[in-house]
Amino acid sequence: MDAALSKKELAGPYKRPSRQFWERTAIAVSCLVCIGGLFFALEVNPFVFITEFDHVSNLVKDMVPPKLGLLFQSKGLYDSIGETISAAFLGTLFGGTLATGLSFFAAQNTAPSRKIRSLMRTLFSVERAIPEFATLLILIAIVGVGPFTSTLALTVASIGFCGRLCADAIENVDTKPVEGLEVLGSSRWQTIRYAILPQVAPSFVSTLFYIFDVNLRRAIVLGYFGGGGLGFELERSKGMLQYKDMLAYTICIIALVLLMERVSDFVRKRILNVDTHLR
């Protein structure tokens, strides 16, 4: 017997490709066809990315170095950062407070009736499906442009999301304390106050901080549509073709979002700690 096996022998006898192999090939090919078809239907040529790559390098030349001097020379930048944070904070506070209140009507175990519960749930999910900028554009027609309009739009936008998360938290409470109080003849309000609220308070707090993170990003987007703050500055600098300013604002946005994530994480942990101390 030969000591060295040939490559063919090592690979073993020829096997027909399995059914799984053909299945996968079919899936891959149909995916590619779908993607190509969609590009064709949209009349988009994806290779523009390669053929027009010199535009990218031109833009990079135009916007580097970013005009970070804005940080030192203009008070306007700090004003717009403040506007963005304030709109997000107030929107979260107002909308979140409203939503936590409403969520008791949307949770099965606290809602006055089944009809009210499904009505609230529907309202929440429809509200969540309406994009924030649509709310903002409607409000702009009423109270004009500026960070106040952004605050109002974020207040509305927080309700659906926050309400749903809070209602879910209420539905997931441990039922034993609730039953314990009910057996003693507590009213609905007493049950909520002494059996449900202590259980859901920490998750309400966490939800509010999560909504704040979301709202900060939304506030930047709303700024673009006329809500003031950093988004508005970005839109203006793009309109004036000031690409160095644009990059500087973009860096500010990234830094702001990353920083506020840290800050809200820190504050949330503090609050939740204090909360457990009190109980």
Binding site: C31, C34, I35, L38, F39, A41, L42, E43, V44, N45, P46, V48, F49, E52, H55, V56, L59, D79, G82, E83, I85, S86, A87, F89, L90, V126, A129, I130, P131, F133, A134, L137, I138, A141, I142, V143, G146, P147, F148, S150, T151, L152, R217, I220, V221, Y224, G228, G231, L234, K238, Y243, M246, T250, I253, I254, V257, L258, E261, V274, L278
Partner: protein
């Protein structure tokens, strides 16, 4: 002072100082954001008449709106797999058990920067480069996937049992073989489920990007509001609500299926 009173005082000191601090911050923020409740209440009747102008929805443009919604869906459909592919690369580079230190920290840094960057900002830069149109929107959405999916995938890969990796490594598997036979089978079901969830997010994002200039139903809504065609705007909003709710439902069903089939996919 009796001990009882002292206890009561201490008990309320913390919540009281917290509320005082909160009130201060709210006042500061309200001043900064030009909050003007008087303006709001003065405009209540204007608001009511404004809502009146939005009704009834203009159903004659329903066909156009439906077509534009399909474009929005198509943009999300194209962006999600492209973004998924990009985040596969970033996710692999961001996992410490298969990628070398410097590469990992670079990938992690890029991922967190991307996560902090709203899609709309990416789109503005892309519009400068490629002009207004679907293509800029698709690329912006695809880039937007990297922050979320790349991070989730990187974390999932880092959680793969080291025994699985070692057992493949010990029989002499190359890095690509490790990825193919040890890592992908473990993380792919979760990744696909995340990808479907991202599709749902991309539909929403695609509407917003549309209003900035990427086209689709969002663009129609922005245009209708600009032209004060409030009845048309209502049609667009209703269309968006239906679109988002349907995509939510579909993504829920699909994700349940993927989770149920689990590793049978690989």
């Amino acid at each position: 002072m009796s001990p009882r009173n002292e206890y009561d005082f201490r008990r309320y000191r913390r919540p009281a100082s917290f509320l005082f601090f909160l009130a201060l911050v709210v006042w500061l923020a309200a001043w900064q954001a030009d909050v003007d409740l008087a303006l709001l209440f003065a405009n209540v009747d204007k608001g009511i008449s404004q809502f009146g102008k939005h009704l009834p929805p203009d159903l004659s443009v329903l066909g156009v709106m439906a077509r534009e919604s399909l474009i929005t869906v198509a943009m999300a459909l194209l962006a999600t797999p492209l973004g998924g592919l990009a985040s596969l690369v970033f996710g692999l580079a961001a996992a410490k058990n298969i990628s070398p230190g410097p590469l990992r920290s670079t990938a992690r840094g890029l991922i967190s920067v991307e996560r902090a960057l709203p899609e709309i900002v990416t789109l503005l830069f892309l519009i400068v480069v490629f002009g207004i149109g679907y293509f800029a929107g698709i690329v912006a959405l695809a880039i937007g996937c990297i922050g979320m999916l790349g991070r989730l995938l990187g974390d999932a890969i880092e959680e793969v049992d080291s025994k699985v990796l070692e057992s493949v490594e010990i029989v002499g598997a190359t890095r690509s073989q490790i990825i193919r036979y040890a890592i992908l089978p473990e993380v792919l079901p979760v990744f696909i489920s995340n990808l479907i969830f991202r599709f749902e997010i991309n539909i929403r994002a695609s509407v917003v990007l549309g209003a900035v200039g990427a086209g689709g139903i969002g663009y129609e809504l922005g245009k209708a509001m600009d032209l004060s065609d409030y009845n048309q705007a209502t049609t667009a909003i209703l269309m968006i609500v239906v679109l988002v709710l349907v995509s939510e439902r579909i993504s829920d069903v699909l994700r349940k299926k993927v989770t149920a089939r689990g590793s049978a996919l690989v």
